[in-house]
Amino acid sequence: MTLASDRMNEPDNKDPPQWIKLTQQQLRARRARSIAIAVALGALVILFYIVTWVKGPAVLVRPL
């Protein structure tokens, strides 16, 4: 039985580590997703900021 961890501990193992290499399409998709998440989080921050101004001290009052 050979486990990946055993192979990594062998002193004569000269193989470079195998990293995932993203394709151009995957890189573009990841960048677009990251920008969309940033925009959504930014919009949420602005929304909370504006609502706090609109409600004033009543922002903490939430009657049922």
Binding site: T2, L3, A4, V51
Partner: protein, 307 residues
């Protein structure tokens, strides 16, 4: 013995794929009916809070759509109409859709509760849970009454809008709920009449698959006969004016006429026409409700100015 370590393929899902998961066309109908519930509710609410409520309702509807696509990916892959959706097409992994849906649902309910009110947030949470758990996971695969009972989820948005604006619920939003509830069966069964093979291939027990076209056309007519007077009920009960009443009666008569033609005829034409008209029917009723309320407000302003 070898130890296999599997790693998920990096995602190629774009922003458009995630938007598609949210079922934008369904979302637009949800937002529209919620907006009407919101605008006809008593009381005044700041426009920013109103916009916040609508965004939360839209995002909540999108979350329910994403969770539906996550659970129904196997069915979607077998149906022509849905095979190109992001999950069956391989553009979005099921786990991604699940995480996306849960995140959006949680966010929409929490923000609605924090910034608007808890009644609306509770109703939104119930709607999402009903659509995903009761309709998608349970009824859709087990009974031909799936869209009848499951239709409650699609009928709740006007009540959420009303609750967001007023913080409470009365008979009036309940009428709007009932209109959409009784509108859903003729709408979806008309669609399923000309998609019967698709549903049968996917193993979904829609009424035409289980009971045949003849029984489906009979039930469409029965629900249309119930819906037409119900559509005019806000006028009968004094919640809406004559403009709404006239529109509801004319559209109701047209719906019954199309259902009668569908019952008598055969082929795809009558069911496609009824399906198309059902969308127009709901849009006209809710738009007229809004127009009627705007006219009443305008008349009130004129009377106030004259005095």
């Amino acid at each position: 013995m070898s130890v296999a370590l599997t790693r998920a393929e990096p995602s190629i899902a774009g922003v458009g794929d995630y938007l598609e998961l949210m079922k934008p066309r369904v979302m637009s109908l949800v937002v529209f009916t919620a907006l009407v519930g919101f605008l006809i509710a008593p009381g005044h609410i700041h426009p920013v809070i109103a916009l916040t409520a609508l965004i939360c309702i839209a995002v909540g509807a999108g979350a329910a759509g994403a969770l539906n696509m996550w659970y129904d990916a196997d069915i979607d892959a077998r149906m022509t109409r849905t095979a190109a959706r992001p999950i069956p097409a391989g553009r979005v992994a099921p786990g991604e859709a699940l995480a996306f849906g849960v995140t959006l649902a949680t966010g929409a309910v929490v923000v609605l509760g924090l910034l608007v009110n808890v009644v609306a947030a509770g109703l939104l949470a119930f709607t999402i849970a009903f659509y995903v758990i009761v309709y998608t996971m349970w009824l859709k695969r087990t009974t031909p009454q799936n869209i009848v009972i499951g239709g409650a989820a699609g009928a709740l948005p006007p009540m959420i809008g009303w609750a967001a604006a007023s913080g409470s619920l009365t008979v009036e939003p309940l009428l709007l709920f009932l209109i959409i509830f009784f509108w859903t069966p003729p709408h979806f069964w008309a669609l399923s009449l000309y998609r019967t093979e698709d549903y049968a291939r996917a193993g979904v027990p829609m009424l035409p698959v289980v009971s045949g076209g003849r029984e489906t056309r009979r039930q469409i007519l029965l629900y249309s006969l119930l819906l037409a007077p119900l559509g005019a009920a806000p006028w009968f009960m004094g919640y809406a004016g004559p403009l709404y009443g006239a529109a509801a009666l004319v559209c109701g008569a047209a719906l019954i006429a199309l259902a009668l033609r569908l019952r008598a005829g055969s082929g795809e034409g009558p069911s496609r026409r009824l399906f198309g008209f059902s969308i127009l029917y709901l849009f006209v009723l809710f738009a007229m409700l809004l127009a009627d309320r705007a006219l009443q407000a305008f008349g009130g302003l004129l009377g106030h100015a004259a005095a």
